[in-house]
């Protein structure tokens, strides 16, 4: 039951485009005490059915850019082989630490984006006020 709940949370996060997979892996390894490798493998199983419905919708709406998708798919599979091979040879404790560093970078990038958006919003807001004052 706990697993279904974790799935639900990850599904909600996925919709906002912030990496539902990372949340799933985190919950499995932190709260359920799963091995990092096993938690990551679970995310692979999780991804296939949850993504296929999204892909079908996108195919129907014709918003997939094939000129980008095809080269990225091909080179991506090569990269994935290398990554997965190295990962499977990495010790559990180390993998968990590297994953932590990766998450920290993701969080910092997200903070950077939020600040940037805040500044843009503020500028726009100030411009509107200035324009109104000029009209007066």
């Amino acid at each position: 039951m706990a697993y279904i709940l974790i799935g639900i949370i990850s599904g909600i996060v996925s919709g906002s485009g912030m990496g539902g997979g990372t949340i799933l892996i985190l919950c499995l390894s932190m709260f359920m005490g799963m091995d990092q490798h096993k938690a990551q493998a679970t995310n692979l199983v999780f991804f296939v059915p949850t993504s296929i419905s999204a892909i079908l919708v996108n195919l129907k709406q014709k918003i997939i850019r094939w000129d980008v998708a095809i080269p990225v798919c091909i080179t991506g599979m090569i990269g994935a082989c290398i990554g997965a091979f190295i990962s499977s040879k990495t010790a559990v404790g180390e993998l968990k630490k590297i994953f932590g560093i990766f998450l920290l970078l993701v969080a910092l990038f997200e903070i950077y984006k939020l600040i940037k958006e805040y500044i843009i919003d503020k500028k726009r807001h100030n411009n509107i006020i200035n324009e109104k004052e000029e009209e007066k």
Partner: protein, 114 residues
Amino acid sequence: MWKKIAIGIVAGFINGFFASGGGMILVPSFIYLLSLNQKEARATSIFCILPMVIVSSFFYYKNNYIDWKLGIMCAIGGIVGGIIGAKLLKNVSDKILRIAFTIFLLYVSIKMII
């Protein structure tokens, strides 16, 4: 073309190594480096991650890391969550969700590293 090849290899490597995170690399790369719009970037990234996931699964499967039962239970939750998310995100500002997510990530990542 070189940009696309490089993006694919980097995202593939990350997605293979962590079994996640491909989208976090692909979506911003597509937007900032290849100037796709947000919608196209998201749609194209999900499509690109699927073959990466299938290829990496082979390595995880060979090392006996895959627990099918748990994976399927999580996936059932994931489908339900996806539907809830799609409805919820229309109402709740996704900025609040993003800030909450970021704080959670910061806390957890530091805990994992230490």
